[in-house]
Symmetry: C2
Subunit: 374 residues, 2 copies
């Protein structure tokens, strides 16, 4: 194997690839990146057996071949090199050699034959989205799931891919987020309903969130694949393949209230700032209380060991009086993920769920359960 590549390009690929490298003691090859020099393309691959990533770049290949090398070491080393031409190669399948400017390096590797296969995903049906916009949308609900051994299905993010709509949702049983989006293109023959691991979605956001390209999504019965293409070619640049979570997602639509008893319109930044102040004096359950006080909302928190705090925020208030307690973090999380200057908070009595939305935008819905029994 022998090829040439610019330091900057190789660094870019390694920074994507090393995101899923595991630190496996039982299967050391999972710490490695697979380097394959083909006729015109260099391909880097990594996998943690749940997620696999492949990345391609155009290269000058003098001699085709492949090897695997410890990913963190290679990435750390390449990051320290100047942005000049790198001459890379393999010595007897044991060492990966790098020459750049005044330096010569040999890194001990493992044979490419031992590297696990990354599953192939059928390209029969796809749906596509604008990469950065899709990732910004997903980021609104991607932090909600909590790892749950007893209910693995809610540790992932629910998707319903339909011809003209994508619905995503997540919950940790204390709160629920839903985000609706419109696809760019679609060749779906039937809707796809599936649960994607949270880690996968976080990596999708990290890798594809900075790209202003089209992001194609493909489906297999147990796998999903996200793919972006190289600029001005049909050749893939990045493919991320992930397993899906088995099981059926709870019928979460039932939980979203259809009406409300009180509706508040609040300035988002001001409300978040006051919730943060109040949070310092909340009890162990993170409880803060909201209460109507004429045309203002009073925010109260109290902790016998630390002290107490009250503050007021002006609000448009429609509907009944209220006095309701929430976990400050769960309430703030949902509000901070809205994309508007004001937010609406709909309440359902003093013990029903609260609903956070951006006024005039029903693509994002956040339901938060109150703390009961005060």
């Amino acid at each position: 194997m022998k090829f040439q590549i610019l330091q900057e390009k190789l660094k870019e690929g390694l920074s994507i690839i090393e995101r899923v490298v595991s630190r496996s003691l039982t299967l050391p090859i999972l710490n490695n990146v697979l380097i394959e020099a083909g006729k015109n393309f260099l391909c880097l691959s990594s996998t943690d057996l749940e997620i696999g990533i492949k990345w391609w770049a155009l290269t000058k290949t003098e001699k085709e071949g492949s090897i695997t090398v410890p990913s963190k070491l290679l990435s750390g080393f390449v990051g320290l090199l100047p942005n000049k031409k790198i001459e890379a190669g393999a010595l007897k399948n044991d060492f990966f050699s790098i020459e750049c400017e005044e330096c010569k390096t040999k890194i001990k590797g493992l044979s490419a034959e031992e590297f696990p296969l990354i599953p192939k995903v059928s390209k029969e049906e796809f749906i596509s989205v604008k990469s950065s916009e899709f990732c910004r949308n997903l980021a609104q609900i991607a932090d909600i799931p909590a790892l749950s051994a007893t209910r693995p299905e809610i540790s992932g993010i629910y998707f319903s891919f339909q011809k003209n709509q994508i619905i995503s949702a997540s919950t940790d049983s204390f709160r629920l987020g839903e985000k609706k989006m419109t696809p760019l293109k679609s060749s779906l023959l039937s809707p796809k309903t599936l649960i994607v691991p949270q880690k996968t979605i976080k990596e999708v956001i990290n890798i594809f969130g900075i790209k202003e390209t089209e992001l194609k999504i493909y489906f297999s019965p147990n796998q999903i694949m996200f793919e972006s293409l190289m600029q001005e070619t049909d050749h893939p640049e990045v493919q991320l393949v992930s397993r899906l979570i088995e099981g059926s997602y709870p019928n979460y639509q039932e939980i979203i209230p259809k009406k409300f008893t009180t509706k508040l319109i609040l300035n988002k930044e001001e409300f978040l700032a006051q919730l943060k102040q109040a949070s310092l004096f909340s009890s162990k359950t993170g409880e803060i209380k909201l209460k109507r006080e004429d045309s203002r909302v009073e925010i109260l928190s109290q902790n016998t060991e630390l002290g107490e705090h009250e503050s007021f925020i002006y609000s448009k208030i429609e509907g009944e009086k209220f006095e309701i307690s929430f976990n400050h973090r769960f309430l703030s999380d949902g509000i901070s993920k809205t994309k508007s200057e004001d937010i609406s908070l709909e309440l359902n009595g003093d013990s029903g769920p609260g609903v956070v939305r951006s006024p005039g935008d029903d693509s994002y819905t956040y339901v938060v359960m109150p703390i009961k029994g005060n």
Copy 2:
């Protein structure tokens, strides 16, 4: 107690004061800041029993008094408030009350009487320096000491304060740094030789390093005090009092070689970059080898598990051939702390200490021991 202060001012004071707050379970009052409202000044104090800090600001005091309050909580809370006027007070010596804009807060405190005294330091003799310059100078050697239970004296930083010169030095027995400075003013009757804890010097750098004022240093037999004044007044703004380390500092001057067998002049950034690359392939002892190769220095590292690396750097070389091994971190540390574009590295055979300096500047000297026996 009742006083008024701007949020920004109080935040500034708390950010200084909370640096030495300890998280003491046995003596909870050490977690607290002492708040004293005097006639025209507010004074905040904190101590971890080794270092004590006092900070003053002009205030409008309606009623004098004092209380202590958990430092991290108060600092975190004040940091979240808008930069507006704060009305603060004490309620029955139990609670510290804060009102700012639309919020009212009570924080549970402890009586000021329980707060430990911060030692007084005599103002008879002093030496003064330019605050930010003094801190930049100390930063060149402040990271060197290592905590040592068996040799507590080298876990601190050595000072010799003389009428016309300040000499500071530190070592961890593998390397040694010395920095000489010129004082601004001095009323010293006799030279003062003492050892200051590393933590104290790090806090001095953090607190006084951003100030362009005069920094006065006072001495007691077992304490040292650093003091800056409020702008355009004679009133102290910050006082930091620290205990000293007992014992006598090793006669380190003996270790600094008086001559050399080889002298290299190297570009600092380039040499540091190459040392960092080489460090990834160094052995467990952090060993990298330097070797003369015509008019270049060859840098070599080798690790049986990871691979090997060699690179070359052009250098002015004066004197004998050499082949010498250093711990890469110890060598890089001393080089990175120089303030010049080029550095000089003086060698003393293949097993004598190396000396790093800035060419033409003898205020900074860094001695590093080689790794022997290859």
